[in-house]
């Protein structure tokens, strides 16, 4: 309980600082009044709109205004779309959520068996092939993997039509199908890192005293690996996977552009370029909450994986 309160306090402070930083960034790059009026307006009209929207007030006052609204559950209204921000963000959130979840599933599904196999047959041909592939995949950033996958599977093999995104409400299977390649490009580099980590972590555990004891009790290498080493070896992997999930959200922001998936990332970038700060603020806070929640979950998971760890 004490642990939770402590975590929560850190989270609130983080969110506060983060949102203030995001807010002040806009004071540097300017407000949206000019683009809201376009090229047929006079500077007087722009100045008037700026005044109406309160952009001529001190930054801290504007921030205080936003904060008090946010605390009351009012995320404000988008400057560009005149729609409530909460509705706009909630509409896009599931897409990014599913995309990240899919990437996580691919990551875990591929990394754990491959890591175990590479450790089990360490030094063998399979291990060497995996290690080389890992090095290659790890060094390619997700957006580039995305471009490669689009060229290869979209334009050469025609397994999917780039740009033909369908929303989940329209066609759930088409939606999941379309997200597969974006998820793959987000997952690939993190998966390679996870495999590498799991392999070395298992090998380290296999060299420990308790494994020698297990052998002396008559365990085979396979039994020692599955029965004893694996669980201990997974602890750093869980931590790493939590970090990966946070990374994947960042990756999805970029990859959504490559595959034109209309998720949070596309909305975020469009809002930044149109200076639509209520939307940007809301997304920044949601992404921060997401990362914090994943980290919390990882902390809880360790406790189960290793009873010696106590949250305090």
């Amino acid at each position: 309980m004490k642990y939770l309160i402590k975590k929560l306090c850190t989270l609130i402070i983080t969110l506060f600082i983060l949102s203030l930083l995001a807010f002040s960034a806009f004071s540097i790059i300017g407000d949206p009044a000019a683009s809201m009026l376009g090229t047929n307006a006079t500077p007087e009209q722009v100045a008037q709109l700026r005044h109406e929207l309160g952009f001529d007030r001190p930054l801290l006052v504007q921030y205080g205004d936003w904060l008090s609204g946010f605390l009351r559950g009012d995320m404000g209204t988008s400057y560009s779309y005149s729609l409530p921000v909460s509705g706009m963000v909630l509409e896009k959130l599931p897409t990014t959520f599913v995309l990240t979840l899919m990437a996580l599933a691919l990551n875990v599904a591929a990394a754990i068996p491959l890591g175990i196999a590479a450790a089990r047959y360490a030094g063998g041909l399979f291990d060497r092939v995996v290690t080389v592939l890992n090095q290659v995949i790890m060094s390619i950033p997700p957006f580039f993997t995305g471009i490669l996958l689009t060229c290869l599977f979209g334009l050469v093999f025609r397994l999917f039509t780039p740009g033909a995104f369908v929303s989940y409400a329209e066609n759930p299977w088409g939606f999941l199908g379309y997200l597969f390649f974006p998820a793959l490009s987000i997952a690939a580099p993190r998966t390679a890192m996870t495999v590498k980590l799991l392999r070395s972590s298992i090998l380290e555990q296999l060299g420990q005293d308790y494994i020698r004891t297990a052998y002396s009790r008559g365990s085979s290498r396979t039994m020692a690996l599955w029965g004893h080493a694996l669980r201990n070896a997974l602890i750093p992997v869980i931590t790493f996977t939590a970090v990966s999930v946070a990374e994947m959200v960042a990756g999805s922001i970029v990859v959504e552009q490559v595959f034109s998936v209309p998720g949070i990332g596309r909305l975020l970038l469009a809002s930044i370029s149109s200076r639509d700060f209520p939307v940007v603020q809301a997304i920044v806070v949601i992404l921060a909450l997401w990362v914090a929640a994943v980290n919390l979950l990882a902390d809880v998971l360790y406790q189960y994986a290793d009873p010696r760890i106590r949250l305090s």
Binding site: A34, T39, N40, P43, Q45, L83, S167, G174, G177, F180
Partner: protein, 517 residues
């Protein structure tokens, strides 16, 4: 021991999620097949139309505060004024049946059409019309329109079907402004997100960054639209738009470049029009060295517009010589396009005369989201280098361009295109009068100001036209800007569709488009 079991259970759970992930993988094939079949749309599954648009309707949908050309273009089908422009640029009665103009040209009496309904079901009456005039005057973001309406003495309800509008001074363009005053119900306040007008299509929904859906309005007063439903799909990424075209996912896309329309599937045909904008290298007339007319003229001679067209658009596009594009047939003066033939020698001589025998360096600021302008700027930089001017192309974000270049006038030169908000010569020319807030280039010419003032003070159409044409000539002779072109507007349309029309304005009329049997 209990935690142990739980841990095992958890790792089992992780594994099973992983396996589900694999399941997802397996069905991915079917998923994308589904996507493919849904877009083999050579023929319409229903009487519906899918239009690909390159930008979201990302601003207010309110008829008076919408800003983006792309938004006005689509909502042209939703809103109407008392008069509306047709494809030849004439104003035809829309919500008004008739208009009587008094002898002194100060009072316009509009007889409203009977039985006009708004999309929300209420009937249009004179109160709505007066409300719309007043709201437009108060809130319009088009400063020339709000200036024109500021001259209104009053807009009054005469009876349920008659509205009298009184002007302070005669205004020959008044009907053009009337066509921009969209009539909206006086008791509805949701226009910014859910527009309600009287047009042939009614707004159904929009999904941010995905689509905008319109449906035929069955109780339309005039000839009903031909298709039942129009889905405007948003492809903000040029490549995604091209892929959608190649896959046959859209039936109609406007504003493509010549290179984009090459090698498309045979279900499409390509139509060519013009974008209806004045693309130029706009020069900051207040900043040295562009405050010297010889330098500006030297730039005009240094630029080879034909080469620009060839390099950026395979020769498509219409050369311009002043701030007027050819769709304004009455005002467009073709002879100005050849005022400055390509002549690097002369350019160098003029530069030497102005005190820059070795040229100078300058920056061309371009909004990075407009590829045609960026391309033109790059070609111009090459051409200027030939006369010793080192031009550096700086790409900036649209918002930055608006704030620094357009509003702040803090620039040397820039390549953009200005369009006309309505079908009046003033929409393009008023901008460059000395005191105008929109005079981004700070062009100062008392001769020009006088010509426009004179033109706007008289009502004789022939005289006005000749005054506007003289004003255009002043812009050209003073070399206010290096005028380039009205860009080619390539439209890709499904061969089974008919009824597409080019307008002299930036609008897309969906009401006449129909599938042939």
């Amino acid at each position: 021991m209990r935690t142990r079991t739980l841990a095992l259970f958890l790792s089992a759970a992780v594994m099973s999620t992983a396996l589900c992930g694999c399941g997802g993988q397996g069905t991915a094939g079917t998923g994308s097949d589904g996507a493919n079949t849904s877009q083999t749309g050579g023929e319409p599954p229903a009487n519906e139309l899918t239009v690909g648009i390159a930008q979201d309707l990302g601003d207010s949908l309110d008829p008076f505060t919408m800003t983006a050309a792309g938004t006005r273009e689509i909502l042209f089908n939703v809103y109407e004024g008392l008069y509306k422009p047709d494809a030849s640029g004439d104003f035809i009665p829309a919500l008004a049946e008739d208009c009587a103009i008094s002898e002194d040209a100060l009072t316009y009496t509009f007889t409203l059409r009977d039985g006009v309904q708004f999309h929300n079901g209420t009937a249009m009456d004179a109160e709505d019309v007066v409300y719309s005039f007043n709201t437009c005057a108060a809130t319009s973001v088009d400063s020339s329109l709000s200036a024109a309406l500021a001259d209104l003495v009053s807009a009054d309800v005469v009876d349920e079907r008659t509205v009298a509008v009184t002007l302070a001074a005669p205004n020959s363009d008044f009907l053009a402004y009337v066509s921009s005053v969209y009539v909206v119900p006086d008791d509805y306040d949701g226009q910014t997100t859910a527009p309600v007008g009287t047009g042939p299509f009614r707004f159904v929904s929009r999904s941010v960054q995905e689509n905008v859906i319109l449906e035929r309005f069955d109780r339309y007063w005039g000839e009903a639209a031909k298709v039942d439903k129009v889905t405007c799909k948003i492809y903000e990424d040029g490549n995604a738009l091209m892929t959608a075209l190649n896959g046959g996912a859209v039936d109609l896309v406007c504003h493509l470049t010549t290179s984009q329309v090459q090698g498309l599937g045979e279900q499409y045909q390509v139509l060519e029009g013009t974008m209806n904008l004045v693309q130029a290298l706009y020069l900051n007339n207040a900043a040295a060295p562009f405050d010297d007319v010889r330098v500006r003229q030297a730039l005009c001679y240094a630029v080879d517009v034909d080469a620009v067209l060839d390099l950026t658009a395979d020769g498509h596009g219409t050369k311009l010589g002043s701030s007027m594009y050819p769709a304004f047939t009455k005002y467009f003066d073709d002879s100005l396009t050849d005022l400055y033939p390509h002549d690097p020698e002369k350019a160098r001589a003029l530069l030497a005369e102005a005190g820059y025998p070795d040229g100078f360096s300058m920056t061309i600021t371009v909004p990075s989201n407009y590829t045609p302008h960026v391309d033109t700027a790059l070609v111009l930089a090459e051409q200027l280098a030939a006369v010793g001017i080192q031009a550096q192309v700086v790409e900036v974000e649209w918002n930055t361009w608006l704030t620094d270049v357009y509003q702040g006038r803090n620039f040397e030169t820039t390549v953009v295109g200005f369009d006309a908000a309505n079908l009046t010569a003033n929409a393009l020319l008023q901008r460059w009068t000395s005191g105008a807030g929109k005079n981004m280039i700070s062009f100062q010419s008392s001769e020009y100001d006088a010509l426009l003032e004179q033109a706007n003070a008289i009502t004789d159409d022939g005289d006005r036209t000749s005054l506007f044409r003289q004003a255009e000539r002043v812009l050209a002779e003073e070399a206010a800007n290096v005028y380039i072109q009205d860009l080619a507007d390539m439209v890709v349309i499904n061969k089974s569709l008919t009824g597409f029309q080019f307008y002299p304005l930036y609008v897309l009329d969906l009401s006449q488009i129909a599938w042939t049997a």
